[in-house]
Assembly symmetry: C2
Homo-oligomer: 353 residues x 2
Amino acid sequence: SSKFDFTEHPHRRHNPLTNRSVLVSPHRAQRPWQGQVEPASEEKKPTYDPNCYLCPGNSRAGGKQNPKYEETFVFTNDFAALLPDTPSFQQQDESDLALLKVEGVKGTCKVICFSPRHDWTVAEMSVDSLVGVVRTWTEQHRLLAETDFINHVQIFENKGQAMGCSNPHPHCQIWATEFVPTEPAVEFENMRIYMQKKRSNLLVDYLAVELKAQERIVCENSYFVALVPFWAEWPFETLVLPRTCSPSLQDLDSNQQHALADIYRRVTCRYDNLFSCSFPYSMGLRQPPTDRKDSYEYCQLNMRFYPPLLRSATVRKFMVGFEMLGEPQRDITPEQAAERLRQCSEIHYKHQN
Amino acid sequence: SSKFDFTEHPHRRHNPLTNRSVLVSPHRAQRPWQGQVEPASEEKKPTYDPNCYLCPGNSRAGGKQNPKYEETFVFTNDFAALLPDTPSFQQQDESDLALLKVEGVKGTCKVICFSPRHDWTVAEMSVDSLVGVVRTWTEQHRLLAETDFINHVQIFENKGQAMGCSNPHPHCQIWATEFVPTEPAVEFENMRIYMQKKRSNLLVDYLAVELKAQERIVCENSYFVALVPFWAEWPFETLVLPRTCSPSLQDLDSNQQHALADIYRRVTCRYDNLFSCSFPYSMGLRQPPTDRKDSYEYCQLNMRFYPPLLRSATVRKFMVGFEMLGEPQRDITPEQAAERLRQCSEIHYKHQN
Ligand SMILES: O=P(O)(O)O[C@H]1O[C@H](CO)[C@@H](O)[C@H](O)[C@H]1O
Ligand SMILES: O=P(O)(O)O[C@H]1O[C@H](CO)[C@@H](O)[C@H](O)[C@H]1O
């Protein structure tokens, strides 16, 4: 048949946030895999680990000692990629066409422990504990936004060894910078253009399209919707969007904070249940630059999950070769991924029966 | 001291090909690593493996049998991500601001075995054998360029399990497409703008800058120079540039083909010697679209290596979290990486003494 079938025929989808495309090859999902398998580390972790530099009361690599914290705990990264006191640097050739363009940059890196419990993960935490995490994010975001050399605050969580996470203790990081990094800068520019031309907010319009289509929704509550975006690159990538216009964490009231904590738990719990394993991912929040209040009109707070697993707890997708040189490629369609995630329970597999 | 020092102070470097930036945090190179270590697989491989679907005479997963080839061997990928007979697909809403943009795409995927020898890698092959590989690339590129539904030919090699390579038999892939993928499209556009404004070729000018600076050169021969680009993202990323104006493989004479084979061997041999291991990487060739002859003016053939290892055979760089959400980040500077690679021998460690 020559009728076009998205579950069968190779096609490209466009990401309006980045203006880049992803190649979808749905017929390829069944090829045999003889490559690397990930270590499936399911040893039971202790509630407290004397060798963990994030557990309460322990000493960190830099020599400082953690307090006996009982909820969340925030500190400045002992090996920060960004520092507040970088001397400024003047470029010699500032022309647009200069080939060696460089700038000195200021910033700061923080770590937020989610809980004193070494053995917990977001998927297994209570919504109440996660409300504490959301409040800590909000407080840190506010403090950093008030810091005059900070113009962008990137909150992200690397979960699992496959995602370069060096410590299983539940935590996230904040890298706050005087510059807006490349990816958010590109997205903000495309959202600005969309607002200018259509007089509406790109992600608000996009959520309306998805709620109508009902094909890629994973789960929802009163204030947030989790979905597999039409242009997802990673096999089980998800995007969490607010139903209301909420540019940043500062715009959420306590009901909305609770709803964000709820969806954070539910998405990660579905992930763990998908392959009955502690599912690796990078999570990140997208928020507008802290110094450009006009961007509040076209920005919209959102949370993304970029998880590498493809077929099982041990077989991942590699973004290499064609993906590095050409463009990202995926096998299963976003609609198929959403369907799989919709079928997963929101009760964690370790606590079922 | 408040003097700016690139080996000490965080800074951002700009990539003129992509118009994106990389964050460099050189002071961070010494942080302790407690994360995932890669399996260091150094078992000796047989010259012929009866279970390898790429070895001469063996059957492949699709059921076809390989000939008893003696040099290179080319076939169409049995699990191709792109197919020549995809039906065409017409988008309903073609507006620039449409949120669900999709197109059906045609293409083809090929595999090129470099040698009948299962146990060889590029780093250990003779230059004469590699000249055969370069000639096969050139021939395949010519054939595909003549195919009317093909407008871009991506030649790439995924080497090693860490790079998603499922078979150690030395081989590369070609994904040829009717569309120009996102990454080359962005680069060609930036090269076109540079040519329009400066009346010269971006990569020709860049090589001149690097040859003058002498800080990031790794090795060179009469026709090619291998260097760590000023904007390198991966710790030991390299870029191989021709000294002459040579937009594509079709522009190389037999001396230049020999020189490309020579530098391919020398770069990969230095990589293996860096950590005394079979060094994983994705290699890719950049060539102009096959249907737009005007692009020959501003394009320039080049070869890139994107290797993940950072500190040893088992500790890699993870491009996760901040890198996915914000922008790529590196610890050691490109100049330090070039210095390390310059110190490596061009005699393979397995054959020394
Ligand atoms: O075709 P292979 O070698 O099985 O697959 C490998 O290379 C492809 C092209 O770079 C990637 O899309 C896959 O993720 C990777 O595992
Ligand atoms: O700071 P960590 O957790 O040690 O390091 C991890 O996250 C960073 C930020 O995403 C990355 O740059 C590192 O490559 C990764 O290993």
